[in-house]
Amino acid sequence: MQDPYALGEDGAPRERRRWVSVVVPKPSRGRGLALLVGLAALAATVWVAAAGTGYAYAPAPTRAKVAGIDVPSDAAGARRLQTKLQTQNKNLAAALKKMAPSGTYVVVDQTQNRLYIMRDDDIARTAVCSAGSGMILKDSGGSRKWVFDTPRGVFKVRNKISNPIWKKPDWAFVEEGKPVPKNPADRFESGTLGKYALYLEDGYMIHGTLYTRLLGRSVTHGCIRLGPDDLQAVWDAAPIGTPVFIF
């Protein structure tokens, strides 16, 4: 495309500059006002529509809706039904009460690293603990893998040992870059688990720690670690058979 502002050989512009004039009609005062009102109406419509779209909240009902049941028309039949329902009610309430633990039980919040000693549904003691780190360890060959999670669910205290000696599992050697010993006697280590160990299931324990500064953080290989005072409290409060709930 030719540049319209380029000069010709004689120094004169090749082409005269072209001007285009566009005449914008000046809006009258009435039309401006109408435009403003229109825009405001549009905004209000959008606003009202937006306000009416989403979720409408109301206080929860305070009265239950009770579905009707077939009631015998005769009085004796109605009384029989009442007796049957009341017996069912007693049995169900008793079954529910029987399922809930009574006396002492232990609750572990593994995400927030808290252990609670519960007595008859009330918290008797709160302790800061450490639960599983969630780390995945692979051995140098890549053939074996361990996930250090604390399992969720309900367990029981199966055994209690004071001054426990830790039988180190394979991962403890792999993690330290040491060969896994062939002689079982080389696996035993004392002092690592603190003063007491309460054995749950599948090798998981509640025990003490040398690293009390890490309590409150998820650092373990799946066991629950406690500081010495809290470990003593759990040891005293939880006999063998005590339920331990981990969530």
Partner: protein, 224 residues
């Protein structure tokens, strides 16, 4: 003759007992139904939430044991609506077992994978890394849901979580929340048929978010 007297008295007493009304029988039947559901939940292996609006409590339970108790300061029921028209009825959410409760947004699962060094007789010095605290690891969003299969969700807005954002931060968050609600109500994929807005303290709301196990069930006890 003397032996038949007590039997006659019992019969007379039974005949004189007031006939139970249909409402009374329906109430006992509904109570039994609710108890049966609680027994079924306690027999299962899954964690469950028990929301009791009358007692103003939300419990995290397993096998009939109360693991955590959260105080409920308020409860509202939300239903989706488009242009002021309600799109779903809020009936039938009480006294029903809801399953598969999951957090939205999901709690991040930060797994570190470590490759062990090749074994040597001396071993390798392990670098002890101090992990984050739960508060640092799991920041609680200003609004979260526990969504259950079938369209019910529990909505929690921990108080005070937005106060640090400033005016524009709060305005943007509000707009974003409205947009999420409006698009969900208008038929988006994440539409909740019923939302229960549960008011918890900041600490309880954070604790619930950090601790909720996966695939939790829910039972809302109807008011007495």
């Amino acid at each position: 003759m003397i032996g038949t007297l007590p039997a006659l008295v019992l019969l007379a007493a039974a005949a004189a007992a007031p006939t139970p009304s249909a409402d009374e029988l329906a109430r006992v039947s509904a109570d039994n139904d609710l108890l049966a559901k609680q027994v079924a939940l306690a027999k299962g292996k899954e964690f469950y939430l028990l929301l009791d609006p009358a007692d103003r409590t939300l419990h995290l339970m397993l096998k009939g044991a109360r693991l955590q108790r959260y105080r409920v300061d308020g409860l509202e029921v939300g239903v989706p609506r488009v242009l002021y028209r309600t799109r779903a009825e809020s009936a039938d959410w009480e006294g029903r077992i809801w399953e598969g409760g999951t957090l939205d947004p999901a709690r991040p699962l930060d797994r570190v994978e470590v490759q062990a060094p090749p074994p040597t007789a001396e071993g390798t010095e392990i670098e002890v890394r101090v992990p984050q605290t739960p508060e640092e690891k799991y920041p609680v969003p200003p609004r979260y849901h526990i969504r259950f299969t079938g369209g019910l969700s529990i909505e929690v807005r921990p108080p005070g979580t937005e106060s640090k954002k400033g005016f524009w931060g709060r305005w943007t968050a509000g707009l974003s929340a409205w947009w999420a609600d409006a698009s969900a109500a208008a038929g988006g994929s994440s539409a909740d048929v019923v939302r229960l807005h549960v008011e918890l303290s900041k600490e309880d709301a954070a604790s619930l978010y950090r601790a909720l196990p996966p695939a939790t069930k829910l039972l809302v006890l109807p008011p007495g």
